[in-house]
């Protein structure tokens, strides 16, 4: 008990930074932001396929982390905690996007205008399209088309390289469920990418 209160020797760097930030150390929090902003951005970007929304999620994630530092349990991995916050924010946003239009469907009233061109903040500019190879675009579209529950698991598994156990901690679901979702997600993507394999 004494060790928990006095020393933080047994903790990882992130956990120690979180404990310092909890005491009001701004530089420690800046360090956490520095360590995680890109990871959370990539996670959100993959989940939402929209740069601005992804940036909003990053902001919201750090805001929540900051406000809830008191509630962080130092015996839990810090990464698990921050990924859980980030993932939940992404899932909330996906849910709020109730009407899911197909981006490729042409609009009835405006000829030649499809979903892509009315997305105000997406980065599907010709320049960025060129930067991605055809294969990479295919993979991205395949991930994008995954149903949300599989998308979350696949993004955490392949883009954040979390273990099955870590994903189970982040999503607060049994490992067996995560395993099933990874297997199904993998089969789904295999079918989507079949031509390229």
């Amino acid at each position: 008990m004494l060790g928990l209160v006095c020393g933080s020797e047994g903790f990882t760097l992130e956990t120690r930074l979180a404990l310092l930030a909890r005491k009001g150390d701004q530089r420690a929090f800046a360090e956490i932001v520095e360590l995680y902003k890109d990871k959370i951005f990539h996670l959100a970007y993959r989940m939402l396929s929209n740069r601005h929304e992804a940036e909003d999620v990053v902001q919201d994630t750090f805001l929540r982390v900051y406000k809830n530092l008191d509630r962080y349990d130092e015996n839990q991995k810090f990464s698990t905690w921050i990924y859980r916050i980030g993932t939940n924010l992404c899932i909330d946003r996906l849910r709020k996007r109730k009407p899911t239009y197909s981006l490729d469907a042409e609009m009835n009233d405006q000829e030649g205008v499809d979903g892509y061109s009315i997305l105000p903040s997406d980065d599907r500019t010709p320049e960025s399209e060129l930067l991605l190879s055809e294969t990479q675009q295919l993979i991205r579209q395949a991930i994008e088309s995954l149903p949300a529950k599989y998308k979350t698991v696949m993004v955490l598994r392949y883009l954040q390289e979390l273990s099955l156990q870590e994903i189970s901690d982040v999503l607060d679901m049994p490992v067996t469920t995560i395993k099933t979702r990874v297997h199904r997600g993998r089969e789904y993507l295999r079918k989507k990418l079949e031509r390229k394999l």
Binding site: K23, G24, Q26, F29, A30, V33, E34, K37, D38, F41, H42, Y45, R51, H52, A54, E55, V58, Q59, F62, L63, Y66, K67, D70, D123, L132, T135, Q136, I139, R140, I143, M154, Y158, L159, E161, L164, K179, V182, H183, R186, E187, L189, R190, L193, E194, K196, L197
Partner: protein, 205 residues
């Protein structure tokens, strides 16, 4: 082994969760089933492609830096530490509040009375000149004498305690005080005097 079982083993293998003996079984199946072999090959390549996308970099728009994120946070860290401490130590907080209120009220009492005050028996026989209280020679005060905000000059007798608060005392060689002589200047000792006095008064009644 049927192909359905092989498929589930394939996924476990990709998850790195297949026991060595099971791996052997799977490999035996691959040797006799080209369809499963092909299926596994596709899964493995899918996985490689997925891992490969991780190296792709999307540069967040300019200005998306730590400083901006930090600037968007509410400024309340200082107060939070305080509040947290107070939440963790409610008893100490209450005690401190109580003490503070008591202290402030006591201090205001102390500052209030700046006028000369004399307490004791036979007051009519004392000589008071300005802020000077004189016990003349040959006079015997039958009890405790308290002088506040003034100078006490004793030439006679005091059959009890002499207490001078925020003032000075001058005892002549002829003075005789049977009790204690106390001089109080500071707020703290004055407070202590008040408290002990209060108790003795209570106990006498």
């Amino acid at each position: 082994m049927d192909c359905k079982h092989a498929l589930s083993l394939m996924h476990d293998y990709l998850d790195n969760e297949l026991a060595p003996d099971q791996i052997l079984l799977l490999k035996e199946h691959f040797a006799i089933c080209p369809a499963c072999m092909e299926h596994y090959d596709q899964l493995e390549r899918t996985e490689l492609m997925l891992f490969g996308t991780k190296t792709q970099h999307f540069e967040p728009i300019s200005g998306f830096v730590t400083a901006n994120i930090m600037a968007s946070l509410p400024k309340k860290a200082k107060q939070r530490v305080w509040m947290q401490w107070m939440k963790n130590h409610p008893a100490v907080t209450v005690a401190a509040m109580f003490f503070m209120v008591m202290f402030i009220s006591a201090l205001s009492f102390w500052n209030q009375d700046r006028d000369l005050m004399v307490k004791g028996p036979d007051l009519d026989k004392l000589i008071i000149e300005g802020d000077k209280v004189i016990v003349p020679r040959g006079l015997s005060v039958a009890g405790d004498l308290t002088v506040q905000n003034g100078q006490a000059e004793v030439y006679g007798e005091v059959n009890g305690n002499l207490t001078v608060i925020d003032g000075s005392m001058n005892l002549a060689s002829t003075a005789h005080i049977s009790g204690q002589v106390t001089k109080i200047d500071e707020a703290m000792s004055w407070l202590w005097y008040r408290i002990t006095h209060l108790f003795s008064e209570v106990s006498y009644r």
